[in-house]
Symmetry: C2
Subunit: 284 residues, 2 copies
């Protein structure tokens, strides 16, 4: 019997696991066939293990070993959320090396993409390929406004009894609204053994870290030589879409996909196009 | 056939109505037998016509003509939310007199109770009996902290995918949690012709008005001579319970009910006790 005969191929079925590193117990899930280097998923602001779109993670896990984890102090991971993106990258490094990996591919979204950049800049040898979605560079224009937009949309969502992601990730039009609902519903496909929600203080500390990153001194992204796939919607209210162009210009070995008529969650809205593109990029 | 043979006795079945006054179209609903002076319901922060607990409004409407309305700029009422509680009271006066009433009983909760006090102080002859629940006096201690508590709980509720009222109105214990869920579910009993939700800016203006009220010069409440019923839970995080005692001391002809092991929504948690008490007070 082959070791991969019983491989888990659906993220909703991936069991909860933990690993200790640097005094922190990191919660993670893994799926897909082991053997090759893994694809590690770096999640967004307030995101836990339950915030990955199965329509993106499952297609990638069909051919690749996928690992998703909770940042320190978020979801089921212990410790306190650090107040800088760079410290979050140190945590990610500690987590990945604690699992025993010296080389990984990274799939990242939003805050996860900021952490991924900080990680690659500090530990270039750790990363083979990089996927940066819905994200922007350190010191990027208007990235320090994420907190304001987020709070506004949280109130807006509360008063309309919606999920804030429907406002933050999608356009409020005939294309975006149903895409938003579908996305939010997909996150509920896992019905058992769900992750803990993020706490208010942890969330606020993440927002502060993003603001600091948005106002920080830009990194020299020409140091990033890894093959990099950059993607976003064309109308991102959280991390302005133009910052994806900025990343593309500054990361030499990069490809750029901008989806029309979509926002921060463009890759989720266009999962049927984006998932194959990501699989192709990660496996070629 | 008696005019009251077809009287609507369930709030969920009360049709949406409007009346124009002072350039504003006020949305309202009415139910219960007409004839005696009506009981007008004054709703809370962010509250619309859909925020009244049927377990309280229905028992009162069994024997009394009940009218609930949307404040200016809230729900289906037109215009802009004014930035002071006193201006909201002027609106309430305009609404009530536009309906043709020169004398009413008032049932109020939270912000509604502040508006009711301002209305009675300015138009003492308009009001026969007064019910003040989950509320406090102008200049009352810590009432200016309502906004802070509200925003915190909105974020907390968002991150736990709950209704903020579960945090703001109820204790987070074995008694409060199921009472909160039951209350939130009761607000969904009306399934058709529901009201519009409040807009973010309208909500923020209400919060500012409450803060101003909390920091304002206290009214001379000894001027209130109407029979007054004051009620709250013993652990109100929004409008501190001690302010109910304060109201009781300062309004001479008042009765006070404080429910144990409950918060801002104590009257909703104890609806089976409070509704008969309110009916008794209003009909005796």
């Amino acid at each position: 019997m082959n070791a991969n005969d019983n491989v888990i191929i659906a993220y909703k079925d991936a069991p909860a696991r933990t690993v200790d590193a640097g005094g922190v117990t990191y919660a993670y899930r893994e799926l897909g066939p082991k053997g090759d280097i893994p694809v590690v998923f770096f999640v967004h602001l307030a995101g836990t293990l339950d915030n990955w779109d199965p329509r993106i993670i499952d297609p990638i896990a069909k051919g690749r070993h996928v690992i998703a984890f909770d940042n320190r102090g978020v979801g089921a991971s212990t410790g306190r959320v650090p107040d800088s993106v760079e410290a979050m990258a140190d945590d990610a490094y500690a987590f990945i090396t604690a699992l025993g990996y010296g080389k990984v591919d990274i799939f990242s979204f939003s805050l996860g993409g900021m952490i991924a950049q900080a990680l690659v800049v500090k530990h270039p040898d750790l990363v083979r390929k990089l996927v940066l979605t819905g994200t922007g560079p350190k010191g990027g224009k208007d990235m320090d406004k994420v907190a304001r937009t987020t709070y506004w949309d949280i109130v807006r969502a509360t008063l309309t009894r919606s999920d804030p992601k429907e406002f933050l990730f999608f356009n409020r039009n005939a294309t975006g609204r149903p895409a938003a609902r579908a996305f939010v519903n997909r996150l509920e496909e896992r019905t058992t053994d769900r992750d803990a929600e993020i706490k208010v203080k942890a969330f606020q500390t993440q927002l502060k870290a993003i603001k600091k990153w948005g106002r920080g001194t830009p990194d020299d992204l020409s140091k990033i030589t890894q093959p990099t796939l950059i993607a976003n919607g064309d109308n991102d209210r959280m991390v302005p879409s133009i910052l994806s162009d900025d990343l593309h210009r500054r990361i030499k070995n990069s490809e750029l996909i901008i989806y029309p008529d979509s926002g921060h969650g463009g890759i989720f809205q266009y999962h049927d196009k984006f998932a194959p593109a990501a699989v192709d990029f990660l496996t070629r």
